[in-house]
């Protein structure tokens, strides 16, 4: 035990002290925070820009229907011919030219926006919805109904379908497919990334030891199995420290950045876009989403994440260690790494499919098979998984981990002492039958 700890300590210290580790650990959160904050920042910037639109109303029926807002100014131009405007509007300081025209036989006006570049969708939506409302209003008033405003107000209807998960005891929970998908995707992806990255680190570590010829010195003091486990656990703790540092730093950085950008930049974005109705439509699901997030069983999710990450990693790390022991340098690993990567990639693909139909047989099978279950089962959990399936999947994973580690240790034990050649899969198969 003390020896495993010594190995673990060495693996940890050597990696954590590397310059590349420190740089990656510090820079990645900056990148993450940037990815979170930058789009909001850019949209905010974009919206702050005042756009001046020239309006040529050829029908002369919609004068001053379009009203200016803080970010948009509409100027109705009457005296310049449209054809001339089309070529000169930008020189006159306009962002675009909106032409309102009528078409014979069509009661609706025809709207055309001329701009030098593709205009933003918020601008178009704003123009369309304002004009739609105006036209609708005029059509309605053409029927000359009394108390039209009252009628309109009373018939105005907005419906949303809420989703609530209810169990057989009748306990209800508000849920959100969007939230479930988001959580599933993030967790599945993190596991995929970390298992592959960390597994590769284990393999490189084994190759390094073999390449530097230090391995025989070490295994005269410690059992190969303990060396392998110490290495795997040491590298796992490096990864965990890194993930923890990333989460903390990313949250810190992004919240600081958001604060610097000004409070509730997001809300401002919504309102300043000038799309009527969007604000309250967006606000409603936001509240529901928050409730749905609150209703997620975080104990279960975090517990499962830790469990499936740990055993998924251990399972693959042992196999990566075995692969590393069979070669002398990294260039030779291709052939052996491919069979290890394929089930992971398969798991990732099935995870994406889980978003579409979380209860399909393919998803169910892949959440049971231990080589894909760490990714797929985690993706299923936010959608709700029967307890027995979860337990079965976990048990299968642990059993496979034990079995695979046993096999990997056998290969590793022989492989680390084979110098100067790269073993074929056939030879590795033979090693399995060597006695201790």
């Amino acid at each position: 035990m003390k020896q495993i700890f010594l190995i673990l300590q060495r693996e940890f210290n050597v990696r954590v002290r590397k310059k590349s580790f420190i740089i990656i650990t510090l820079l990645t959160p900056v990148l993450f925070a940037g990815l979170m904050v930058l789009p909001a920042y850019l949209m905010q910037r974009d919206d702050e820009q005042l756009r001046h639109i020239a309006v040529a109303d050829l029908t002369a029926a919609y004068d001053s229907v379009l009203r200016s807002s803080p970010t948009l100014r509409f100027s109705y131009v009457h005296d310049t011919p449209v054809d001339e405007l089309k070529t000169t509007f930008d020189k006159a300081g306009y962002y675009g030219l909106l032409v309102i025209d009528s078409v014979a036989g069509n009661p609706n006006p025809q709207l055309t926006m001329y701009a030098r570049r593709q205009p933003p969708v918020t601008l178009l939506t704003m123009v369309e919805s304002t004009m739609e409302k105006e036209v609708e209003g005029r059509k309605l008033s053409a029927y000359q109904i009394d108390n039209l405003d009252q009628i309109m107000a009373s018939v105005k209807t907005k419906l949303r379908c809420a989703t609530i998960n209810i169990d057989s005891q009748g306990v209800e929970k508000r849920s959100s497919t969007m939230v479930a998908m988001g959580v599933a995707y993030v967790m599945g992806f993190i596991i995929y990334m970390m298992v592959l990255l960390t597994g590769n680190m284990v393999m490189q570590g084994v190759i390094e030891e073999k390449h530097d010829r230090v391995v025989e010195v070490i295994i005269s003091s410690i059992k190969p199995f303990n060396l392998m486990m110490g290495k795997i656990l040491g590298i796992a703790s490096v990864s965990l420290v890194q993930i923890a540092a990333w989460v903390v730093l990313t949250l810190l950085l992004s919240s600081t950045a958001m604060n610097l950008l000004g409070a509730d930049a997001a809300a401002q974005m919504m309102s300043s876009s000038g799309i009527e109705g969007v604000t309250d439509v967006a606000a409603q699901p936001a509240n529901e989403m928050l409730e749905a997030i609150r209703n997620l069983d975080f104990g279960l999710i975090i517990g499962s994440f830790v469990f499936f990450f740990l055993f998924g990693y251990l399972l693959y790390a042992a196999l990566f260690a075995a692969a590393g022991s069979a070669v002398e340098n990294e260039a030779d690993t291709q052939q052996l790494v491919l069979p290890l990567t394929i089930p992971m990639v398969l798991g990732l693909m099935v995870m994406l499919f889980t978003m579409k139909s979380p209860d399909s047989p393919l998803v169910q099978w892949c959440s049971m098979i231990p080589f894909t279950s760490p990714i797929v089962m985690l993706a299923r959990i936010p959608f709700g998984v029967p307890t027995w399936e979860l337990l079965l999947s976990g048990a299968l994973l642990v059993l496979t981990f034990v079995g695979c580690t046993y096999v990997a240790a056998k290969i590793y034990r022989v492989g680390i002492l084979m110098y100067g050649k790269k073993a074929s899969l056939q030879e590795i198969w033979k090693w399995l039958r060597y006695k201790r």
Partner: protein, 315 residues
């Protein structure tokens, strides 16, 4: 009193027989040479003693008791394929390896300081291994092999990669360790160092022990039929006659000592008189001396004889 004994060790790797019925007895305080051609099974035997691998059958007794896992702290091993983590600092690495051998941190640091001083390498503590030359790295290797003051030291080809000065330094250290009561096994191809240092030898060939015992005895019993003969006469004629089958005399070497040509002969004849009778018609014998065979000759002859007797072609 034997510190280490093996009885009837057998080891197979798939279809490859690595050890067959191998027994050795290493006396306490001796320097024990394991000789043999490449692939004979020396490293397998050493790995079994270090518990890196286990025998299929047979047993290993250490200090009179079956080898147990805690015995690794009483054994020091310098493998033939040896190295250090290239990216690690010398001191840190030596400390790590010393702790793996069961030393606590404080003792390890104290002893390492002592050895660093002894080898005059105090300045290396914070150097990375990749900055060291091969010979320098080997000094560090040697140091971590003996740092836990084991009762049994095993060196696999200890002198390969050392320059003559460092090799002498290591040789002196080994002799010093032996003087302090450490038992030493070493495996080597370097016959000169075997003659110089070893008390006992075992020659392993094709997985079996084919020659074993105290080195003086081995040299006496296996060197008794080799003679050096100073002569006058025609070398061509002598060589022709001796090479005919059934002569009972094998021509081993020919050189000129000053002005007189000298032959090295191995005789299968009963006596020196019989040998003289054979030689006299061929030459004028100036001098005839029995030779104590060099370990090199014994090694080559024993392996050749064994392979011939078992119909194995010598590579």
């Amino acid at each position: 009193m034997n510190l280490l004994e093996t009885h009837g060790l057998e080891k197979r790797y798939g279809n490859y027989q690595a050890l067959t019925d191998l027994s050795v007895a290493v006396p306490q305080g001796s320097i024990y040479g394991l000789l043999g051609p490449n692939g004979a099974g020396k490293t397998t035997l050493i790995r079994i003693i270090n518990q890196i691998t286990g025998p299929d059958s047979g047993e290993v007794l250490f200090d009179g008791k079956p080898l147990s896992s805690s015995d690794i702290y009483r054994i020091g091993y310098l493998p033939e394929e040896r190295g250090l983590y290239r990216k690690m600092k010398v001191g840190e690495q030596a400390l790590f390896l010393a702790q793996l051998k069961g030393l606590d941190r404080a003792t390890a640091i104290k002893r390492l300081r002592h050895w660093f001083e002894k080898f005059g390498i105090q300045g290396w503590w914070d150097k990375r291994v990749e900055e060291l030359s091969k010979g320098m790295a080997q000094k560090v290797q040697f140091m971590v092999t003996v740092i836990h003051e084991p009762e049994l030291l095993i060196f696999d080809e200890p002198f390969s990669g050392f320059d003559p000065i460092n090799a002498q330094l290591i040789r002196d250290e080994i002799m010093e360790l032996r003087k302090n009561g450490t038992t030493i096994i070493f495996s080597t191809h370097n016959m000169a160092s075997v003659e110089e240092m070893c008390d006992h030898i075992t020659l392993i060939n094709k997985s079996r022990s084919i020659l074993s015992g105290p080195i003086d005895e081995v040299r006496r019993t296996h060197g008794s039929n080799v003679y050096s003969v100073a002569y006058r006469g025609s070398y061509e004629r002598i060589a022709q006659t001796l090479q005919q089958p059934g002569s009972g005399i094998e021509l081993m070497a020919h050189h000129t000592d000053g002005t007189t040509p000298v032959l090295h002969l191995r005789s299968a004849l009963d006596s020196t008189n019989a040998l003289l009778q054979q030689l006299m018609p061929l030459m004028e014998v100036v001098a005839l001396n029995p030779l104590v065979a060099s370990m090199n000759d014994i090694f080559i002859t024993a392996v050749k004889d064994y392979n011939q007797a078992h119909g194995i072609k010598t590579a």
